[in-house]
């Protein structure tokens, strides 16, 4: 399936995501807890321990999710005193958003092509 991700990269001009980056972003966004963590980080920067209090999973499990998001460059982590702070990375989000919208666009394009076929048939009647 690597070929398909390569084509994502091609479509976006090559400088948007490398194939490996696109793989990591797809993987990171494919989990509902990670999407939720990301949504909270977009709202405001917060500590890993504050995030962990929001979920009924262990701190270790939350840290693992944060690591997956960090590897995909969707968030970045930095230390403030004793706390690990998590912030969303807007540039990667913009690019990920493009990928998701492009998928939705697939069916919009298909519907438009169907409309064209139907219109041509109507004219030739």
């Amino acid at each position: 399936m690597l070929t398909y991700n390569q084509m994502v990269v091609d479509m976006l001009g090559g400088d948007t995501f490398s194939e490996a980056e696109a793989d990591r972003v797809f993987h990171a966004l494919a989990d509902s807890t990670r999407r939720d963590i990301l949504a909270r980080a977009i709202e405001r920067e917060q500590s890993v321990s504050a995030l962990a209090r929001q979920y009924e999973i262990s701190l270790t499990a939350v840290q693992k999710h944060v690591t997956v998001l960090e590897r995909a460059a969707l968030i970045s982590k930095h230390r403030s005193g004793r706390e690990q702070l998590v912030a969303a990375n807007p540039e990667t989000l913009r690019r990920a958003n493009t990928l998701l919208q492009a998928f939705e666009q697939l069916w919009v394009d298909r519907a438009n092509r169907i409309a064209e076929i139907l219109a041509e048939e109507g004219e030739s009647r």
């Binding site: 399936m1 398909y4 479509m11 797809f26 697939l106 069916w107 519907a111 109507g122």
Partner: protein
Amino acid sequence: MTVISSTTDADQLTMEIVAEFDAAPDRVWAVWEDPRKLERWWGPPTYPATFTRHEFEVGGQSRYYMTGPTGDRHFGWWRIDVLEAKRRIEFANGFAGDDGEPVPGLAPAGGIVELGSSGSGTRMLVRTEFVDVEQMERMLAMGMQEGMGLAIGQIDAVLREPVPA
């Protein structure tokens, strides 16, 4: 505006689109039933689809490939599970290998099509249901490929939009 609404539900792993056409349901049905019509819209101009098999009946199988700009071919398949003439299609849509046959162990995505009258035209709902997140990742990726018809201008417009929270 052909497309009235489109929604992606990441938690339910579904994507739904509603479109309206200025043509009767039997003509919209024909774009799904007739493989020559189907291949005119399934793939974008840059990745046209060719259906080598299209058994439009319950239990029927389809095989297709999409041809890329460099002549590269990407294979897919359908299996029709439910068919109610001019009203409803439920089909599985999966990846195929270079031999054109389904890749074993790779679950297909579910597709549901509903047609209904809307004034003198037709309302079409298409829902894609993913089995699991890994499949969604793969289909998202293939969706990108199929969505390559996306004009550069549209991509630019998306990039200028603010990131939704």
